[in-house]
Symmetry: C2
Subunit: 373 residues, 2 copies
């Protein structure tokens, strides 16, 4: 079948859903791959390299395509160009774009969402939330190192000892653990906190000191944290405050896909940090872990510079695209057989990722959300 | 005696020549320290902290001062406010500012230059060129990590392996070795080159691979490299070219105080780097190791972003000031006895640092330069 890869139209999106390596993989699976010229420019991939890998370069790649690959969901114009029955595979944060979901249903599109890959072992090679979080976590650490105008590591010099920086990382999912590993490599003294007690061991394994606030654990489904009560959240902030005040750099990474991020740090807590301190909030796009953060901007709160991440994986387009495209190739391998589109809806991964198909919303939770509107 | 610390007036200078810690040290030596309000603002040091350390906060700190401390040389206005016989201690790159040297001589000032501390063991605690190079080398590595939109280190992920970045560091003095150590910490594959063969061992000790171009060594005085012939420079560039082309990030640190930096990398060599590559040139202020670099700017050469460092230590004002102020305290300790100014001109360090005294230029090389004008 023909698989299409178009230029991303979302502002600031630099990634691409297929690389020359994954195009070669798709061709080996028996598919024809149509790539729109320029699709890889943001990720520094020339059209020639796609052609060398076996892609057709087509200005209208959707024509005749059965499956459309993307990073961001198609915009209205892109979606309206697809025939009923066409399948799409991209991020699709459906709870935040229910109108889009309805339009997809009504247009008879089959929608596979990378954000809905179940968090099971077999699906790990398809887990784009994790792969992109890895990129974001690394970037958060590098941004913090660049913005904090102090050494991260200890140095013994003839002119005296340079003390290591104190870094606090909140949220110990993939992004948080990668941030911890990276700042630790640079020699900082790192503390980590997560509402899930089980995370303490992972935090320690990365070389950071797990912070114990003496609160109940909040393990939830799929390895994510459960939502907490307002009382618990307030107590947590109160007990986190001295750790925030002691940090030279604070990196926050607590996000739950499709929901507003929890506010872990109030403005007054940032104001208690030393002048010259740095805050990097990876959750800024979904409301922020830090009160007052703005995505894509640096705002001063007290003497601290607060960096709000905006589509942070897209800030490292080449590696983020390589990982995302590999995730996508693994999903396409699952969805097709001998070059034909053949999704097995009895498969837990296929069923979990498919949000619309044959004129209906397949995901029970989303169907319920729509019904209740 | 009274020691003065004024606000730096040089554009972009954020450092300060004394910190609260070194003010306390100067007071313990029996001195009175006059600090101009705001002198520490660039380095995030409040006036109150100076006062707590025992400083007088005076808007006219030069009045009655026998010794004036600074980072940059005083400008004309500052210099003209000093009585004959007053001593100054600051960086003073005299070969680049001979007119200033003559004005100092004619004004009867005693000028001690931090750039002229001899490179002997006993002087290491006073070696500000080294301490500031340490800061610059760290900053170069962090800037390169932030600008290269690839991972520095290897990662094994469910979506495939991320290859480590290739970093080439030219010049293995204090700055180059610190840059090597820092990028190595982040997991990059690092190569290092220096014209001094003895540097290979130091490069290797930091975890980098020393590049051997099969050329003669150029050991010079004071641990610095000798100047090379045009033929040797051309051959060196020719043999370096493939290493530059293979690097994701190039960091250049070859500088000799008071002279134009050697051009190690021609424009065509940068143009051969991959798109998205990064160049960080720490020598941009003294002409640059990379042809086409501009201090304080990022210019694109081919597909590479070339970052020209401008007063790089001042980009980390707090640690740079702490180290510089410690160097200055060590020099003041050498220059004074029981609270009085008592330089021993028979001391190799004192003699080496003193450029003007009692109406004459003391440094033989500088006196010759002036005589030959």
């Amino acid at each position: 079948m023909r698989i299409a890869v178009a230029r991303e139209t979302h502002p600031g999106e630099t990634r691409v859903a297929a690389t020359p390596e994954t195009v070669a993989g798709l061709v080996r699976l028996g598919h024809e791959v149509a790539v729109q010229p320029g699709a890889g420019h943001g990720a520094l991939i020339d059209d020639d390299r796609y052609a060398d890998a076996g892609a057709l370069l087509l200005e209208e790649p959707f024509d005749g395509a059965e499956l459309v690959l993307g990073v961001q969901p198609l915009d209205d114009a892109g979606r309206s160009r697809l025939r009923p029955g066409t399948a799409t595979l991209s991020f699709l944060p459906a709870t935040l774009m229910l109108a889009d979901l309805v339009a997809r249903r009504d247009a008879g599109l089959t929608s596979f969402a990378m954000d809905y890959v179940p968090r099971i072992s077999r699906a790990q090679p398809m887990d784009a939330l994790s792969s992109q979080s890895l990129v974001a976590g690394y970037r958060a650490a590098v941004v913090a190192a660049g913005r904090l105008r102090e050494f991260f590591g200890l140095s013994m010099t003839a002119a005296g000892t340079i003390k290591p920086a104190q870094v606090l990382v909140l949220g110990a999912g993939v992004a948080g653990l990668q941030a911890i590993a990276t700042v630790k490599r640079l020699g900082a003294v790192v503390r980590g906190y997560d509402v899930r007690a089980a995370a303490a061991e992972e935090i320690a394994s990365m070389g950071a000191v797990p912070v114990d606030l003496g609160l109940d654990t909040l393990e939830g489904a799929g390895g994510y944290a459960r939502e907490m009560t307002a009382e618990r959240a307030a107590l947590q902030r109160e007990r986190l405050a001295p750790y925030v005040a002691a940090a030279d750099a604070l990196i926050t990474t607590a996000a739950v896909p499709g929901r507003r991020a929890p506010v872990l740090v109030h403005r007054a807590m940032v104001e208690a940090m030393r002048p010259g301190s740095v805050v990097v909030d990876l959750a800024a796009d979904s409301g922020g872990n830090v009160e007052g953060v703005e995505p894509g901007r640096v705002v001063m709160i007290g003497g601290a510079a607060v960096w709000g991440g905006s589509n942070v994986p897209a800030q490292m387009p080449a590696p983020a695209s390589r990982l995302y495209a590999a995730n996508v190739l693994a999903v396409v391998t699952l969805l097709t057989r001998e070059g034909d589109f053949a999704p097995d809806f009895d498969d837990e991964i296929v069923a979990g990722m498919c949000l619309t198909h044959q004129g209906r919303v397949r995901n029970a939770m989303l169907a319920e959300l729509l019904g209740s509107e």
